[in-house]
Symmetry: C2
Subunit: 210 residues, 2 copies
């Protein structure tokens, strides 16, 4: 397949190199075509470089791999994308990477913290199916599923981490309570995977490490 | 530890039973204390039942395991929670479970779809670190990491799924493009885990199944 890649950064170069290695033709597009050419040369004959418009025209599928702040300009520079498969791997990150600038302004947990005056709220267990809890064995084969927890009180978080791990889950600290803005959508994703998208409830999230 | 559990549904009963099995004392609180007593009796001597206020008073840690619509009333019924560890496992789900009613109104991908007229936008690869792509081997041990993808064009999604799996990732269909509202926070979560919370970038998400 011909794949256009808008952006020569880590994500674009990483996926472009991998797809070129599988025999696809990739064309990297950049505001700086010379940069795209240099990247392409480092990859080999399946890769070439050009402008953003070149990449958009070239690809049956086009990977959008831009920093969020450059995304709209890149789309404008691409020209027509009618009928193209546009693979969007961007995240609308704030400049400090610690929040999203689009679509996320609060969370249930933060509302709860306002309502429950004085409580040390810790978000946890919101992305595990109750069916897993009731199954008699939380392990998936030999693997513990991940339970993320977040909150603003370190001592409370430590206690909750203990309450997680003693149930044979892996507890992962997901930061301050406002990160419930990420954990609650994860819960919603699992609801949809389980009930709306046919995977059933015998699933759980895991952070792989190596 | 004494643990109060607000809610006798799937999540509350599941965690309550597990913690009671580990030797903690749990008190289930419900608007219907008889229901809480019946649940407690089915679990054994480490469990008891009562009102929501009873559970809040009893627990050093209090699990909030209510349907979202009942959450605020439950907190009001709990009385003072000052100094309590309040474990929040709720998700602010819409009645049809297919969206969140708090904090999530759009996504970068949906904005991109507005900007890129006519394009078949597929969100994908937004929660995998570029470092994993560049490492020469995307597998974690023998396990492929999960790449979620979502979009509104079935054919485009099928092609993107192929582009994912041929790179030795597992492709999981995360539904319509609006579910980027869940995938982008997942990307943000991994950014924070990797850069802000000390896990580094050699991590990836996986959906466990059994």
């Amino acid at each position: 397949m011909n794949i256009g890649i808008i952006g020569t950064g880590n994500m674009g170069s990483g996926l472009g190199k991998l797809w070129a290695g599988k025999g696809h033709k990739v064309l990297f597009g950049s505001r700086d075509p010379q940069k795209a050419n240099t990247l392409a040369s480092s990859i080999g004959p399946n890769a070439s470089g050009g402008t953003i418009a070149d990449a958009a025209k070239f690809g049956e599928a086009v990977l959008l791999a831009t920093p969020w702040a450059a995304t709209r300009d890149a789309i404008n520079a691409a020209g027509s994308l009618v009928g193209k498969i546009l693979i969007d791997c961007t995240n609308p990150l704030a400049p400090d990477y610690m929040s999203l600038v689009v679509g996320h302004t609060t969370s249930g947990a933060e509302e709860i913290a306002k309502w429950a005056t004085g409580a040390k709220v810790v978000k946890a267990f919101n992305a595990v199916f109750a069916q897993v809890l009731h199954s008699g064995n939380p392990l998936f084969g030999s693997e513990p599923a991940t339970i993320f927890y977040c909150g603003d009180d370190a001592q409370a978080k430590g206690i909750v981490a203990g309450l997680i791990t003693e149930l044979d889950f892996e507890a992962i600290d997901a930061g301050p309570l406002k990160n419930a803005r990420a954990l609650e959508p994860l819960g919603e994703l699992f609801v949809q995977l389980g009930y709306g998208l046919g995977m059933g409830t015998n699933i759980a999230v895991k952070v792989l490490r190596r």
